[in-house]
């Protein structure tokens, strides 16, 4: 399986790892780190929205969070996807 990463573990950033998934397997999200306890819903929503805009239907998403705001999280997902598609 192909994987790609974007981001860092600096404060207010996150490290996003995308792994290709088999067609029909859907989007699987795993969030760990600073905001996982209180922002799981918001982060899941942002990741789903970002992947939908990129027309991605099947993907494994792992986020190691260190306090990233949504705008950062979205950008990291997009960048990781760009790298995966290269």
């Amino acid at each position: 399986m192909k994987t790609a990463q974007a981001g860092t573990l600096e404060s207010m950033d996150c490290l996003v790892t995308l792994t290709e998934a088999a067609p029909g397997s859907g989007i699987k999200i795993n969030i760990t780190g600073a905001s996982a306890a209180r922002f799981n819903s918001a982060m899941t929503k942002k990741i789903n929205e970002t992947l939908a805009e990129l027309s991605v239907k099947d993907m494994e998403v792992a986020v190691q969070d260190n306090g990233a705001l949504d705008i950062v999280l979205g950008a990291r997902v997009e960048a990781a996807y760009g790298r995966l598609m290269k």
Partner: protein, 515 residues
């Protein structure tokens, strides 16, 4: 259930704590009756040496039995060997079901977890940090932890809420008859302020030292009249963990901006005049505020009165330069502070009772003009939480937060609006440690937010150049917009922590986290 004065729904009875006396307001509860005390003792001239050969012998001589309450002081901080040494010995001697009553616990005490699991320790009254806090938050103890402030603790002892059976006092220097000194020896820690109450009110006092000197040890912090037993051990602590190196002023531009705003607020307040007294603690922002204030004091030719609380080298410098005339020290954080309290008569050792107890004839905090504090979060009622983290885990003690906020004329919470993604200003804090009634201002990178109760302060800061004023609702809305919606903390109904206000009423409770 009762809704208390900070709008928290609290049960009238808490399993493992007892009947709840509800919080009614910062200054509502008045004491009744007499001070509770220790047992009388008698030592005649047939005993001129109180030494025993080992910690176990000391425990045996103290009469410590299962079910009793043992106390410790935290001046050896993260270098402390005493708590572990005593609990290990208790475990080996088969003593169980102890109530641990420390002035604070640190990471170095994570071994306490083993003693909780094996039943040696079944109750903690005091702060729980790091792994112990996590264990407690997840339901690892049968009875709730009771959190008290630095002033609430001596109050509880003097009021008879807590009775100390045996106090173990780590002594950097002592003699065979139990005179204790904190400023000398390889484990010197400076002030022994938090240990005074324990020495005064425990039925038995065990002095544990690694620097036994000829009688009488001097200078004396706690005199021989309080000590029952003396034991010499190879080491009471790791000097690297006892005193920190010189604490540095923050270099983070965001925190410097916050510090500058806080300093501007102080400068514009009616308290910025000759004789100003303040407490700023050891954090990065408070130290930077002190640095900015120092500049302003020199610029305006103002001399301060006293500096209070945990003392750092930075405060020692202010004393040396004549910018404050006295330091009142309950805990000496670094080497400079330890050295200064040993040498300079204007650097005064004070007890926790003297520092912060609401139930005596006046604590030092009452004389305080300005205090700079932090908090994990504050809300639109200006209530502050310092005990729990964003995920609901009980990880921090109350320290002097409640006491200084209640005492100082100007109480400032200075912190960034967000920590990572976590908002530090919310609509309602998860746990109330200190009520908004005693908090006057919040300072963030967006400016100064004044409690509407303090119209005088709002007038004083309005029109100050380059000092933005942000109403609290606007600040909370901004934090919410940046962080996005939060998921609620998932808890069970079981109460694992009881947060007392400094007068012994229950201001809030903390519930067990759902795994």
């Amino acid at each position: 259930m009762t809704i208390n004065a900070v709008k928290r729904e609290i049960p009238d009875y808490i399993e493992g704590y007892g009947k709840v006396r509800h919080y009614e307001g910062a200054f509502a509860r008045k004491p009744e009756g007499a001070i509770a005390g220790a047992k009388l003792r008698c030592f005649n001239s047939d005993i001129t040496d109180k030494r025993v050969s080992s910690v176990k012998e000391a425990i045996k001589a103290s009469g410590l039995k299962s079910g009793m309450t043992v106390s410790f002081h935290h001046h050896l901080r993260n270098g402390d060997y005493v708590v572990n040494m005593v609990l290990d010995a208790c475990a080996e001697m088969g003593i169980k079901d102890l109530t641990l009553f420390p002035t604070a616990l640190f990471g170095v005490h994570k071994k306490v977890i083993d003693h909780i699991k094996s039943g040696v320790v079944t109750r903690i009254m005091g702060s729980v940090n790091g792994p112990i806090g996590q264990l407690v938050s997840e339901g690892g103890m049968e009875v709730p932890v009771v959190l008290r402030s630095h002033g609430g603790r001596p109050r509880a002892v003097m009021a008879g809420d807590v009775h100390i059976d045996v106090a173990f006092i780590g002594a950097p220097t002592a003699d065979k008859y139990g005179n204790i000194c904190g400023t000398l020896g390889k484990s010197a820690c400076g002030s022994l302020g938090y240990a005074f109450t324990d020495a005064d009110y425990a039925d038995k006092v065990v002095v544990i030292t690694d620097n036994l000197v000829d009688f009488p040890a001097a200078p004396v912090s706690i005199p021989q009249t309080k000590a029952d037993i003396v034991v010499e051990v190879p080491s009471i602590g790791d000097p690297a963990g006892i005193v920190s190196g010189t604490t540095k002023v923050t270099r983070d531009p965001l925190r410097l901006l916050i510090s500058r705003y806080a300093s501007q607020l102080i400068e514009a307040s009616p308290y910025f005049k000759d004789g100003i007294s303040f407490q700023t603690g050891a954090g990065g922002i408070p130290l930077a505020v002190t640095a900015f204030m120092k500049e302003a004091m020199i610029r305006k030719g103002i001399k301060g009165g006293f500096g209070l609380g945990g003392i750092t080298g930075y405060f020692v410098e202010l004393l040396r330069e004549g910018l404050v005339s006295k330091l009142m020290d309950v805990q000496s954080f670094d080497l400079d502070a330890v050295k200064s309290i040993g040498e300079n008569p204007n650097h005064i050792e004070i007890s926790a009772d003297w520092y912060a107890n609401p139930w005596n004839c006046g604590a030092a905090v009452n004389m305080l003009d300005v205090v700079i504090l932090g908090a994990t979060e504050v809300d639109t009622d200006f209530n502050a939480n310092v005990n729990t983290e964003a995920d609901g885990a009980l990880l921090h003690g109350t320290g002097g937060h409640q006491d200084t906020a209640a005492g100082a004329k100007l109480t400032i919470i200075a912190q960034p609006l967000l920590r990572g993604r976590i908002p530090c200003v919310t609509d309602s804090v998860y746990n109330v440690t200190t009520p908004g009634e005693v908090i006057d201002a919040i300072v963030t990178e967006y400016g100064v937010t004044i409690n509407p109760r303090r119209k005088d302060l709002l007038d004083a800061v309005s029109g100050v150049k380059d000092l933005p004023i942000v109403p609290i609702d606007e600040l909370a809305a901004r934090a919410r917009k940046m962080s996005g919606p939060t998921d609620p903390v998932k808890t069970t109904d079981r109460i694992i922590g009881v947060v007392e206000w400094r007068d012994g009423t229950v201001i809030d409770v903390v519930r067990q986290l759902k795994k």
